[in-house]
């Protein structure tokens, strides 16, 4: 049985009364009615921040393309491209304050990089050198938690973490510069997982300082979003008693504004918020995927016309950004991509013993015994050669 062929809820249809968008696909400033409450905040954004948005999107897209190429050249086992989702990720990650905590899924390369994670640490995960890659407790990583590969699992971890913030009085004081909040990323496919439902139940029951940020990129590998839900996903929040916002995820200004407000409301003690950001996975699910088997070139082209970077570039040009600025960003993007390549190709393998080192925090006789056995077994070959 196939799901009913309902009207596709293409989130960027201009007549959706709920949709928050300020930049039209051609980069003109054309706010939707739902964007009205955000216009003052957007007007107050300075040029430096607007240029940062553009720079983030462009530089990290270049890195993402480089990582895809590295996989094609046999350097990585796998790469899940973030191509096309840059505005949703830049807007939301730049909206998070320094003290906030971010729980990504596994396509949030843009989010992680903005928060300070070394993109080569993400590469180490995809190269088979680690199951993690960075230390979320190290301040340089901006409270960015590890990728979680079982879809939706991280929504519960984020909710528990947010419960902890509330219990410890780390949120809800009314001081936005100090109160901490959590943002958790997941997608349209993960939205079907029971864990996402349970996370929203717990978040609503305990009124957590938390934003659920759903990037609806229209495809869960090969399955279209209409198979996950015939109803727009942003409507689900209401069922949990959670305010929900539907934003054009290819509009970085709108993505920033709605996330900034939702996080600030949550940190102030108003309870959890849900955001559905409508975007598009312009690349494959991962480098193992072949989108030509399930979607049309026509569809891809229609979304290419709504590319988040072209849109922001046109907007900045309209505001008078110089050619020199764009040239300088392109140079930086090329340099970052080249740096990632240079550091990836020299990554060395990991010592055998690391397999055993962190299975437990405390002593465990079976693991200790097996570690020692393997070391002696390996050494026995060395003795033979000597």
């Amino acid at each position: 049985m196939t799901p009913p062929d309902t009207v596709p809820h293409d989130a960027v249809t201009p007549d959706d009364p709920h949709l928050v968008r300020v930049l039209a696909a051609d980069g003109t400033f054309a706010p939707t009615p739902a964007a009205e409450p955000y216009l003052d905040a957007i007007a107050a954004l300075d040029d430096t921040l607007l240029e940062t948005f553009y720079r983030d999107m462009t530089v990290i897209r270049a890195f993402d393309r480089q990582a895809t190429n590295l996989q094609r050249q046999g350097q990585l086992a796998l790469w899940p491209p973030s191509y096309g989702q840059e505005a949703a990720q830049v807007g939301s990650a730049r909206a998070a304050r320094t003290q906030d905590h971010l729980f990504p899924s596994y396509r949030e390369h843009v989010v992680c990089t903005i928060r300070g994670v070394d993109p080569v640490d993400i590469i180490r995960l995809m190269k088979g050198l680690t199951h993690g890659g960075w230390d979320p407790t190290d301040p340089k990583n901006g409270n960015t938690h590890l990728y979680t590969l079982v879809l939706g699992s991280q929504t519960l971890h984020a909710t528990g973490f947010a419960m902890g913030l509330a219990l410890d009085g780390r949120s809800g004081s009314g001081d936005a510069e100090r109160d901490e909040a959590v943002i958790v990323y997941y997608g349209d496919g993960a939205s079907s997982q029971g864990d996402v439902h349970e996370a929203m139940v717990f978040a609503a029951s305990f009124q957590t300082p938390e934003v659920f940020f759903l990037q609806n990129n229209q495809w869960a590998i090969s399955v279209p979003v209409r198979t996950q839900s015939p109803a727009p996903l942003h409507l689900r929040g209401a069922g949990y008693g959670m305010p929900s916002i539907h934003v054009d995820g290819n509009d970085v200004l709108a993505s920033y504004a709605v996330t900034r407000r939702a996080l600030d409301e949550a940190r102030a003690g108003a309870g959890p918020r849900a955001i559905e950001a409508a975007t598009y996975r312009m690349g494959a699910h991962t480098t193992s995927d072949d989108p030509t088997k399930y979607r049309t070139a026509e569809e891809e082209q229609s979304w290419a016309r709504r590319d988040p970077i072209l849109r922001m570039r046109a907007y900045l040009q309209g505001r008078g950004a110089s050619d020199a600025f764009f040239a300088e960003v392109d140079e930086e993007a090329a340099a970052v991509a080249e740096d990632a390549r240079a550091r990836t190709v020299v990554l060395e393998s990991i010592p055998v013993g690391t397999m055993f080192d962190h299975v437990y925090s405390e002593e465990h006789p079976l693991i200790a015994e097996q570690k020692q056995w393997l070391a002696e077994y390996e050494a026995s070959f060395g003795e033979g050669q000597a």
Binding site: T130, H131, G132, D135, P136, T137, D138, H145, L146, T148, V150, S153, T155, L156, H157, A158, T159, G160, F161, A162, M163, G164, L165, L167, D168, G194, D195, E198, A199, V201, F202, S205, T354, D357, H358, V359, Y360, S361, E362, H364, P365, L366, I367
Partner: protein, 327 residues
């Protein structure tokens, strides 16, 4: 000074939880019906009244949610103790336990620890409906990253729950529900053994009987009957199911030359299988007979009217003792 008290295992757990809550304000209890009701087995009775609803939390009815949010709370510096209402209800939370809780420290290369305890009442003998009498321990012992323990006496319950909460690793804490009510002596002044030690609970010379949880009482019963028939049985309480402390077991088998493992769980790929294989490897030249297992049958736990036949009793253990003695 020794401070002794007599209480049932359920009260000993309650006292241990009370002590842990009092000692560390980041210890939390969370689960279904654990607040005003005190849990369906009353193990948390009175604790919400004493420590408040922010420390003893009645959660929504969702096991994956309980475990998954406990993981997040542990990341935020808490030490959550989760109650799963019955053994058969742990499986909605199984994914979070095995794919997340057990692996998070490893994934973070040690940067994040997971001091989470999952309390699960388990086992039969209570005449209940489906999913309320199971012994799921092997699912957890098979998962790297988890510690698994089961107390068999009130004294062990009191100390082991506190040691489990103090552990920086996740601990699956299996409570033998048929042993909740019999009373025993608790030494409130000092623990007798570390969390992961096995213990000889009866000395003997002919056959070593090994088991865990509620089965320890049945083994003692079998040993008393065997004694009257002229066979001397040593009894070892495993206490810790992962890791297993093989020292006392191997010492015993090297003296007796015979071993029987008894368990409520189905025997195929069970704790008894693992201990039997290890003893066969390490004490081969001491063995006079094959290591035998007495287990629940490899069927779903039957309707309660048949549980007396499904669960190993003293007679089935004695049958195995007799077989071991024929070699």
């Amino acid at each position: 000074m020794t401070d002794l008290a007599t209480m049932p295992l359920s009260k000993a757990l309650n006292a241990g939880l009370q002590a842990a809550l009092a000692n560390d304000d980041h210890v939390l209890l969370m689960g279904e019906d654990i607040g005003p009701l005190g849990g369906v087995f009353r193990v948390t009775e009175g604790l919400q009244a004493e420590f408040g609803a922010r420390r003893v939390i009645d959660t929504p009815l969702a096991e994956s949610g309980i475990i998954g949010t406990a993981i997040g709370l542990a990341m935020a510096g808490f030490r959550p103790v989760c109650e799963i209402q019955f053994d058969g209800f742990v499986f909605p939370g199984f994914d979070q336990i095995t794919t997340q809780l057990a692996k998070i420290t490893n994934r973070h290369e040690g940067a994040i620890r997971m001091p989470v305890v999952i309390r699960i009442p388990y086992g039969g003998h209570i005449g209940a409906v489906e999913h309320h009498q199971e012994s799921p321990e092997a699912y957890f012992t098979h998962t790297a990253g988890l510690r698994v323990v089961s107390p068999s006496t009130p004294n062990d319950a009191y100390w082991m729950i506190q040691d489990a909460i103090a552990s920086d690793d996740p601990v699956v804490f299996l409570e033998p529900k048929s042993r909740y009510w019999p009373k025993g002596e608790v030494d409130l002044s000092a623990r007798a053994l570390p969390l992961h030690a096995s213990r000889v609970v009866r000395r003997g010379t002919d056959v070593t009987l090994v088991g865990h949880g509620a089965m320890v009482a049945t083994l003692l019963q079998a040993a008393a009957l065997a004694e009257s028939e002229g066979t001397s049985c040593e009894v070892v309480d495993l206490r810790s199911l992962s890791p297993v402390d093989y020292g006392p077991i191997l010492d015993s088998v090297r003296r007796t030359g015979r071993m029987v493992y008894a368990q409520e769980a189905p025997g195929f790929t069970s704790l008894g299988s693992e201990v039997a294989a290890t003893v066969a490897e390490r004490a081969f030249y001491s063995l006079e007979a094959p290591v035998l297992r007495v287990s629940g049958f490899d069927t779903p736990f039957p309707p309660a009217k048949l549980e007396g036949l499904y669960l190993p009793d003293a007679d089935r253990i004695l049958e195995a003792v007799d077989r071991a003695m024929t070699y």
